[in-house]
Symmetry: D2
């Protein structure tokens, strides 16, 4: 008995759930969990179906393809293959540390192929966990040349996802285009508040009573990509900007790990500039 | 075009989603929202399907009944009929007030048939909203005689649900048995902590850092019925028991209104001593 | 025995707490609660001291004034006088309703002098609670002429604070200047995200996973005044913009009532564009 | 210039704040932060005063002692000395991992002297951070003999605090008595709900909609010691007991780290069975 996940993303049409579940039934695949959602504002249908049974992928997907309308996307994910990620960092350790620890104890079912830093500060921490660390300094390099070095390293690992765990440089459209819908970033504010640099200092200046963090897919528009997860923490007037930075760390790492976990479990559909999480 | 909700609650079996959605498709009923859940620990299947179309209830339900296994419950709810509730209170106004206000402005789609109090303190508030208030004092009455008076009033209104909005008396098994799965209570603690009387005083004695409230269906076991919703609020050492009582009011009223809203929208399945909310 | 609150707001200096508490001690005033805060980034000192005893206001304040450095503000508030507010509304009832209910049952210790609406939709609700409602339509009036009518009504009541409980018009600098630091607004977003009109629709467009509300003092910069309180609620892809509007109501009313409560208890110091809440 | 913290815990009396702050002023010590609290139900006074200046500890404390009533406790803490902890674990790594990581990157200002496990599963993780791990198996040992081995190890390190980071054995009164008010435990439920073993399974059985974690000082009454911090996470019917265990990890580690942080910063007063956190 294998377990696979059928992901369907297509224009809505009458009878879609019936058709898809009929095909599962006909193939004697047991539905363990099923979630579907229709966005009625745009008429898009999303379905995530966890199946158990003996799979003949070819004939099953042929049946599925015949049932779906034109313009459909579908994917059958084998859950027995562990996903691979490359993590990019600068100097701050809390998000990297949380992912390392969760991969180490199995809370996150993921293979961390490598960590890449534009500083070498986190090399020692990474290597404690027997994971290769690549130090690619941006010093004295044009932005594109620097990114190309990183791209070469990433492509050598063929990762499913790239995680920006407090990587503090803005990526060029060229870089982003190389890994469409694969790059996950943690932004240290409750987006769209405080886009850009030093969001905690902006928050402190504004006198907010809550700070937050946002995990999102990276697109070419800075801090504008599809949001996966957000969370917040109450603060008050006694917090300096530095206190906010410190208080925000637990929120940042929890939001990033949670977003990554949902992505790794194939629960996240990207759709326009939004996510549907089933 | 009508809108109805099909509720299915039955032993799990292969192909259930396919069968049910096929029948909807065959009857040309459009699925607006669909949620289902299988409890794998007990093998129970739950499904809530919002449908739009021209209904022939008789033939549709005949088809559904043939498709479902033995021991199934199903219900087809007409959303155009507004549900009716009777509210029971003692002296505190915040939960009653929130429901009155939300019914008044349409946030809760409900018809408040009447309010019954074992004190008359909330008569004036109730009558501001042109809703009948029945004062049924328990003074000088045996518990059963008192409850029988209340039962008579309730039965005169034929409510879908009875809401205990800070009704501060324990109900007898006789009362509870008259309205199975219909009575919703707000308990002013994060159950199962602080069962019974004066939970905020118990919480203060214990020195907790969070207080909470729990909305649940009433069964014969005090504060042990199926939980519908819970929420909490942070407190600290500066809170006296009275401060906790005051701080808890917003949590209580929000939890009760939210639970009631979900029940009114037919999202809540009771199942053993738990709820499944679809 | 009377109870009064001494509020001190002045440049920081060595020995301030000692000097102020010495004077209280000398006047045989018992300190019931005391909170102080120094903003070290600007060197400003804030102190809120709840006192009990027999007060000779004149000699006590003379002593305090001598102890404080130049540029100090201090105020001795008599807690036995109930504060008076005027509420301004448009069409939505949830914030008004919550304040009416809390004033009715004593959860908010406040005298609601009047409600002013630029629509008459909430007249009936207001009058249920025996509070005068003034309908001042903006139809056919220049903005200034409309505001002047409202100003005249407000000034007739001499309120301590003006509460914008979903008043959906932007106020002119002239209006704001008439009531400095007295106007409290609820903005239906987690500021500074989604400044301006239709914030829930902006939030829905952006695909956020959390919505929020912000209570703040009104200054001339739209939605930029000192923040008093904020809170949030998790949402997901299933929420339409209208669902967000509905879900946000409980957050909005709770945040506004909580902010108002803190202001009424003289806990909120305005300072630059921020608040210090003691 | 040194920085020290004066902690005062004594019966309330008129003029206490004035007396203490006068002495600070007289000794030319600048008050950086000050917080005080009076529990009016028992008449106990608590004060935490962060001071900066040139300290003559002897004369300063002599003055303080003369000012305080009989039965007072006071302590002057030198913030330049880093506190030392010993951590006790069983098999689960998330709480240990979070503390190791925060000590590593400086988020927690603490010296982890050693980790003691009744299993050896976490030895490798501990040693990655160059911290000694002591494996003290309980196999084949009487409870007291086992604890005595642990006590010997702990006493060799002279720690300020002992952190039970998911140590899954109940400690005897003998052990607890050796380290009064020094042992901090994380309990994986929202106490006092679900005292004792397998709280997530109890929570799942009960059908709760929120799970939580509680950090508390350990006393002889199981799970009954003074609570330092609590937090919660929403769950729903889709969570199995195992899902709750997994979802609870982030709450547990955050609550424990936060409680430890407050203890290390000398913000926590233990008082009866409660804490006052200034």
């Amino acid at each position: 008995m294998e377990r696979k996940i059928l992901l369907t993303d297509c224009p809505d049409a009458q009878g879609l759930i019936a058709k898809i579940t009929n095909i599962c039934y006909k193939h004697q695949l047991n539905i363990i969990h099923n979630n579907e959602y229709v966005d009625h504002s745009t008429g898009q249908f999303f379905m995530r179906t966890e199946l158990e049974g003996i799979f003949n992928d070819e004939t099953f997907l042929m049946d599925i393809d015949q049932a779906l309308p034109a313009g459909s996307h579908r994917n059958l994910v084998d859950t027995s293959r562990r996903k691979r990620v490359v993590i990019m960092v600068t100097k701050e350790s809390h998000c990297l540390g949380d992912i390392l620890m969760k991969a180490y104890d199995g809370s996150l079912d993921v293979d961390i192929a490598a960590v890449i830093g534009n500083h070498d500060k986190l090399a020692a921490l990474t290597e404690k966990f027997d994971i290769p660390f690549h130090f690619v300094s941006h010093e004295g390099l044009e932005r594109e040349a620097h990114e190309n070095q990183i791209i070469d390293i990433i492509e050598g690992y063929e990762p499913d996802h790239i995680v920006l765990a407090k990587f503090m440089r803005v990526l060029t459209p060229n870089f982003v285009a190389r890994f469409p819908r694969k790059i996950i970033n943690i932004h240290h504010s409750f987006l769209p508040a405080f886009i850009g640099a030093r969001p905690y200092h902006q928050a402190w200046e504004r006198g907010v009573k809550i700070i937050g963090a946002t995990a999102h897919f990276v697109t070419n528009d800075l801090d504008e990509g599809p949001i996966i997860d957000q969370n917040v923490k109450h603060v008050d007037h006694t917090f300096s900007a530095e206190d906010m930075v410190k208080a925000g760390r637990d929120v940042e790492k929890t939001v990033l790990s949670n977003a990554l976990s949902q992505v790794l479990e194939d629960k996240v559909f990207v759709y326009g500039n939004k996510t549907v999480i089933l």
